[in-house]
Amino acid sequence: MSETASSSTAITGAEIFCRSLQAEGVEVVFGYPGGAVLHIYDALYRQDKVSHVLVRHEQGAVHAAEGYAKSSDKPGVALVTSGPGATNAITGIADAYMDSVPLVVFTGQVPTSLIGNDAFQEVDTVGITRPCVKHNFLVKDVKDLATTIKKAFYVATTGRPGPVVVDIPKDVTADSCEFEYPESIHMRSYNPTTKGHTGQIRKAVELILSAKQPMIYTGGGVILGRGSEALTEFTRQLGYPITNTLMGLGGYPASDKQYLGMLGMHGTYEANMAMHHADVLIAIGARFDDRVTGNIEKFCPHAKIVHVDVDPSSISKNVKVDVPIVGEVEPVLRELIKGLNENGGKPDAEALATWWKQIEEWQAQDCLKYDQTSELIKPQYVVQKFWELTEGDAYVTSDVGQHQMWAAQFYRFDKPNRWINSGGLGTMGVGLPFAMGVQFAHPDATVGCITGEASIQMCIQELSTCFQYQLPLKILNLNNRYLGMVRQWQEFFYQGRYAMSYMDALPDFVKLAEAYGHVGIQVTQPGDVEGAIKEALAQKERLVFLDFITDQSENVYPMIPAGAGQNEMILV
């Protein structure tokens, strides 16, 4: 009798999958079906709470999930089949790992009885993803499925976020058991630190107040940790200059007068010079990446360093710091503000005035200037116009290369989660699928994808997805007929030998956009840039592909050449 009773409430693994996602509040899954996940797709089809977006390549699914997560406060979810489905997803997973994006990626697997047999579409997904996930799971028993999904979301979204892969064999999705989704989860081996150490906070406050030439340097951790409000309060209270990393743009309002622009290889002269001459560096949610530090031997030679990070392994990894604080950015910033108020001390106003005077001299270099009189379209001008015409309020994704740097330099982000790019892995092809994910998270927002003619072709098939779901993206293709950043390095460091960096036989992007059902516009004259962008923005229901034929010889300035210090920039 009891057996009958229990089997009447038992549901299949595929149904458990759907119910678990519903319990997690997942609204959208980006995916692509295949043999090993057919039971799951059937269960998804028979419910209506979780919607599914069909991409055209699994890489697009994971990048779209990233774009969704990076622009919102929710994790991204992707679903792919076994074998090639899983291997196609790897680039997206690695990208999410490098940029700490909270993702849960479900991969189908061959039935447990066939694992290890070189079965059709079998790959060791847990093995192949291990080096590029925060954690991964292979579910071998349907009874473990709900708990594993709960753990996956918990691990992906807490501490330093990251991608978690859950590999589910086909038979597990067919087997049945009772469904109970855990309310909460405790893992004895995983307890991320949230609050900062009180003693360290006190030491940091003293050091911060003792500064004569302070500098605040913040990264993607401020965005991920939702710390930008606290950061703004903290920075304004001190009156110190601040710079954001590529991943941290929007963490502090770019239009504020204390903001010195982005730092690093293509950062501003003033930001890099202020870093180099700082006596106290306050690093928050940033990881001293090599594109930021330049030559580590020459990095911030005079500075005592406070470093706030949720990940202990980020602290003193590249640069030895003086006051490490392990904890989440937001609560630690609140504790620092409290500490400043309790301390009662004030920053050294006289020293600070002198310091700002010095900074203004560096700012007078006007390091982002470019030729405004050219008869060719300058890529910087396109980004600047897009910023003006969207009033700085668009969500902007980019691909990787010169256009990415120009987007970062010339679109001034005042809010967090508006700038979505691939900083760590530097993945060409992310821009379009990122933008899809952003548009799903913000259906009414203007979403721009600033890209280049090389990057856009790496996931161009997703134009078809955009048509299916009527995503009104604005694609700004800065088309210089070159792999621009490669060309730039070849010009600077390989005596102009442009090996394989010319994009021969480009498609007609206007026709291509039209073939996918979208609007395509080619722009060849600087005078037409503004009108074309306005036209694209006016087409609220349509994806518009703007193909800007830009100056081929334009380079990204300023630049810290590899091996140089932050004070050794090449200016225009």
Binding site: G127, K134, L138, V155, S189, P312, S313, S316, K317
Partner: protein, 164 residues
Amino acid sequence: MRHIISVLLENEAGALSRVAGLFSARGYNIESLTVAPTDDPSLSRMTIVTSGSDEIVEQITKQLNKLIDVIKLLDMTAYPHIEREMALVKVRVPEAADREEAKRLADIFRGRIIDVTHDTYVIEITGEGSKLDAFLEALQPFPVLEVVRSGVMGIARGDVSLQI
């Protein structure tokens, strides 16, 4: 500098490969690694012998702690501790005189002969790595057929202990 790190981790499939993968991916040295379940079957205990500058070893311990399966670890090098390694050595001893000499050497090193055939002995010996090295050196006159070493296990002395 040489460090000996003990790690308590979830006794789950793949946990060992996460640790091994971490060392190869980040280019850390591994001199030896031993692992087995503990008295609590849900836990494994691993002893890793590694070497590197203080900064590198600090990163190694942080990266190990970051692995989701790792519950706790202890860098034994910071405390008084005991290290032990076991070796099994098969030597060819066809002559009676050889057998006597091998037996005497084993006794001197507090080894035990645990398998005897007409012309071979298997000798079991435990101790610190240097003692095992010395024993193998002393066995030089004999044809050594096989040596199996367990890798180092370690435990801290006194009140310091690695437990959950």
